[in-house]
């Protein structure tokens, strides 16, 4: 916890939650995106639709799921469909307004790698892979990315294109026949970034409270562009912070509570 009264990760999650509206239909990944979506739902966007790739549509969990298929997602959902239907009717059908993605490696054009470090066929580190991400990145109307900044994570050149952002920038998406907007927002633990309207390079538009441009650059593997008029991200409100912390406390209790008596 910093002297500000909140951690950079809390700021990241809360900033992401603010970008979501009551009318959004979000395809939610696990970790930070899930927390952000549920904070939005529990604060300013009670009617937001959260969809998890396990088939749960319109869920309202009291506890953050550990997996994307925890039971509570189904119990609180408007409906639960099969996985093929999820990917065909709901994602490919163009019904998702915001796809939320995290990244192991990210480049300045919003291209994401969660597949391998090193060569694909002889990987240095084999990561879990894309799961739903390749099509979330191209079928959602927009993509929001959240990740904690690091030089290892934010790199000039990613090792593998798990999911396509803006490619080499400019109209690269359009040239590949992808007609969705792609990554339109990057929220890190230090700043809010938006793509340049022409080059599509992610540009810092707002620094989180207490963060300097130098800190952003020091934890990023490419030369960072900053907007001319840099905003300061409003600090988390009491309600936002309490909502997030309560959610995480409930989650921690629930996940630890199932540990007894397991196969030994």
């Amino acid at each position: 916890m910093s002297e500000l009264g909140f951690t950079p990760n809390e700021m990241m999650t809360i900033a992401a939650s603010r970008a979501l509206t009551n009318d959004d239909v979000c395809f939610v990944g696990i970790g930070a995106p899930s927390a952000a979506c549920n904070v939005a739902r529990l604060t300013h966007a009670p009617d937001i639709t959260l969809i998890y790739e396990s088939g749960t549509i319109g869920t309202a969990p009291q506890v953050l799921p550990l997996s994307i298929g925890d039971g509570e997602l189904c119990e609180t959902a408007v409906t639960t469909v099969s996985v093929p239907e999820m990917f065909r009717y709901w994602l490919q059908g163009g019904r998702i307004s915001i796809g939320l993605l995290g990244a192991a490696q990210l480049d300045k054009f919003g291209n994401i790698n969660t597949t391998v470090i090193g060569d694909y066929h002889h990987p240095k580190t084999r990561l879990p892979g894309g799961g739903g991400a390749p099509e979330i990145a191209t079928s959602s109307k927009q993509v929001y990315i959240t990740m904690a900044q690091s030089k290892r994570g934010m790199v000039e050149k990613i090792d593998f294109f798990t999911s396509f952002g803006h490619g080499e920038g400019g109209d690269h998406r359009k040239r590949l026949g992808i007609d969705t907007a792609g990554p339109t927002l990057l929220i890190t633990d230090l700043a809010i970034w938006k793509p340049d309207p022409v080059t599509k390079e992610f540009t810092v538009v707002s620094l989180h409270p207490g963060v300097t441009c130098q800190q952003v650059q020091d934890s990023c593997g490419w030369v960072v562009k900053f907007a001319q008029a840099l905003d300061e991200t409003p600090a988390p409100s009491e309600l936002e912070l309490q909502t997030l912390r309560d959610l995480q406390a409930r989650t921690k209790a629930a996940h630890e509570g199932t540990g007894k008596g397991k196969a030994d």
């Binding site: 994307i68 039971g71 066929h121 084999r126 008596g261 397991k262």
Partner: protein, 285 residues
């Protein structure tokens, strides 16, 4: 026509060395008991198919049973990596393993096409994705009306699929409910299917007509294994053992620790041990 069998016999009758096999379950209803029985029987040279390989494939790969893995997310959901699978892919330990990797959309469509009796699935996918460059089974077809180029992948048609479900009726019809995932497709796409269930009930007469029920003639064998999905869960019966998933991360991190755990918890156990593992999780369900 379906037979009710003890799990040991059901696995022995339906799985063979060299088979392509899907133990499916999308986080929910993972057929752990059937996978553990397959491990005890020591099958070899399997092609393991699954969207989210998860602990049971980490275990089978770690035991050297797999010559190939077909998947779309080789992680421990919400926890991180699958360390036995990594060891096989990165280091060829305990044996080299062939990899065929897809996206979830690709696998889901491929199962759907398999259930539908088609040779391939056609969908909008893999645009700009690196997988399309490294997986020769990702190809394309052109829409004959619009000229749009769409992705094509071969349909999935396992030799055998294993799933876990909530219940069967006495005739052998099977109900899957909650997060139904890809289970129906896995059964219908396979040449034969084996199901473990939490319980058997007299009839399904009181079920809503639109639930996911697999008619008895789509299934080769059913075994009753209460708790058979642990540490995954069975909606309405017991909750997910999230702590076990967290713990797996440590067990699988070390080759020796892994072997010791497998010996104590799989090799020396049986299907009958699953019921006790979920006892403390029943209230939470």
């Amino acid at each position: 026509m379906v037979k009710f069998l003890p799990l040991k016999q059901a696995v022995a009758e339906n799985l063979n060395d060299g088979d392509s096999v899907a133990f499916e379950g999308f986080t929910h209803l993972i057929p752990t008991a059937a996978a553990h029985e397959a491990i005890r029987q020591g099958f070899r040279d399997l092609t393991l198919i699954r969207m989210t390989p998860d602990l049971i494939y980490d275990q089978m790969i770690g035991m050297g049973m797999a010559k190939k893995i077909v998947f779309s997310y080789v992680g421990n959901p919400g926890v991180g990596l699958l360390r036995r699978a990594r060891d096989a892919i990165e280091n060829g330990f305990p044996r080299p393993i062939e990899v065929e990797e897809h996206s979830h959309a690709g696998m889901a469509n491929a199962y759907e096409a398999g259930a539908a009796g088609l040779p391939c699935a056609v969908f909008r996918g893999y645009r700009g994705a690196g997988l399309a460059e490294v997986n020769p089974n990702i190809r394309s077809v052109t829409c004959p009306f619009t000229g749009e180029v769409l992705a094509a992948v071969p349909s999935i048609r396992p030799d055998v699929s294993f799933i876990h479900a909530q219940k069967a009726d006495r005739k052998g019809n099977v109900l899957v409910e909650g997060i139904i995932g890809i289970q129906k497709e896995a059964v219908l796409a396979a040449r034969r299917a084996m199901v473990t269930v939490e319980e058997v009930v007299d009839t399904f007469d009181d079920l809503h007509p639109n639930l996911t029920v697999l008619p008895r003639w789509t299934i080769a064998a059913i075994s009753v294994v209460p708790g058979g999905s642990h540490p995954s869960y069975a909606h309405g019966y017991y909750a997910r053992d999230n702590a076990a998933y967290l713990e797996w991360d440590e067990i699988a991190a070390n080759r020796e620790k892994f072997q010791a755990w497998m010996q104590a918890n799989v090799i020396e156990k049986s299907a009958d041990d699953f019921a006790a593992r979920v006892e403390h999780l029943r209230k939470a369900a």
